[in-house]
Amino acid sequence: MSKSDIKRQAIIENAYRLFRARGFDGTSMAHITSEVGGSKATLYSHFPSKEELFVECMMAALENYMPDTLKHLDASCSDPEAALRNFGTSVLNFICSPEQVEVRRLMISEAARSGTGRLFFDKISALRSQIASFLTTCMVSGLLRRDDPDLAADHLGALLEAEILEPLLLHVRETAPDEEETALAARRAVAAFLRAYAPTSGRMKALARLNAHVRRLPPHEL
């Protein structure tokens, strides 16, 4: 890691701690500078505004986590159900952790007020488009029906979060779900998703007819 990267990391860690303890308004760039050490100019050379630093702090953990999670979707797509299930479980384990629930609370409570909503939304959209590109692959290879992959990614995300997230955000439930629970939620979400995005029945029937025809062929013609 370069010296500059180390500095950047130190800024993010300190700012993250301050934002979580004091909120967006209660944290100043001066305060962050005094915690990190160095000059305000250095701070601003890394992050041009408090808004950008705030968004970076809230999203850093998720962005670090996602590459590993997305590897589940990297397969040659032979078993999209298993790929999506593993991906879904991994996402849920992360976003349901107490720290990430708290980060999401802070994002939702501060985004609209501090004018950082657009910055958050762009980052979230970038992550979503990585999921969408996997779904595009599945659509192209005929494993899923053709539709808007961004929309499909929204639907998949919504199904994954449906059972668990809201009670955690509203603090009606305090303990994070264990692996068994997230796996079950992911399985149910993926089952509904795959049924909904299965290739259209016309196409399925065509495939079935083709298969039946192939089965009737004498072995040497295969």
Partner: protein
């Protein structure tokens, strides 16, 4: 301590609603509200222990009647399932994305660790709707119009699908208010996906 009266409580809610509307939640103070109704600050706090609590009551009551109207859409016999779900979805999102409901939702999430607003919000808004939708889906599954599944889970899937396209944008303040056409499109797509996800094969 003086006994609380319903008329005083209503007067406070009325005054608070005006103040919140005029200056917004952040800039509104308990003093502003007290000035409008007169009386002491102690009296005001006796009725409502915090600005957050008062805000929740004001906004929630404004929406309570509408919440009942939403689930009323699900009392039909579901002879045209898609139509009923679309109508329900449209009403649900119209209320959910109203300025008041979004303000309540943000606050409920933001304050959930420090007050009981999150719990109130869950018990008075989220859970009853989930329950009604689940009841409806249970009837539909019994009639074999959808595949057999846990109706509670199916209800959560449906509600989450309805929110999927726009909620994030609205909560983050990327868009300010949602037009009916945008709601209608999102509802149609969500209901289609829900129905094909739960249809009998």
């Amino acid at each position: 301590m003086k006994t609380k009266t319903e008329s005083k409580r209503q007067a406070i809610l009325q005054a608070a609603a005006e103040v919140f509307r005029e200056v917004g939640f952040d800039r509104a103070s308990m003093s502003d509200i007290r000035e409008r109704i007169g009386g002491s600050k102690a009296t005001l706090y006796n009725y409502f222990p915090s600005k957050e609590k008062l805000f929740f009551e004001v906004m929630h009551h404004a929406k309570e009647v509408e919440l009942e109207a939403i689930t009323g859409e699900l009392n039909g016999d579901a002879s045209d399932l898609k139509r009923e779900l679309v109508r329900f979805g449209q009403k649900f999102l119209a209320v959910l994305y109203s300025t008041e409901a979004i303000a309540v939702r943000r606050l409920s999430i933001a304050e959930s660790r420090h007050s009981d607003i999150g719990r109130l919000s869950f018990e008075q808004a989220v859970a009853p709707i989930e329950k009604q939708v689940a009841e409806f889906l249970r009837r539909v599954m019994k009639r074999e119009a959808l595949r057999t599944a846990d109706p509670k889970i199916a209800a959560m899937h449906l509600l989450s699908l309805l929110e999927s396209e726009l909620l994030q944008r609205v909560l983050l303040g990327v868009i300010d208010g949602v037009k009916p056409e945008a709601i209608n499109g999102a509802v149609r797509r969500a209901v289609d996906v829900f129905l094909s996800g739960y249809e009998r094969r």
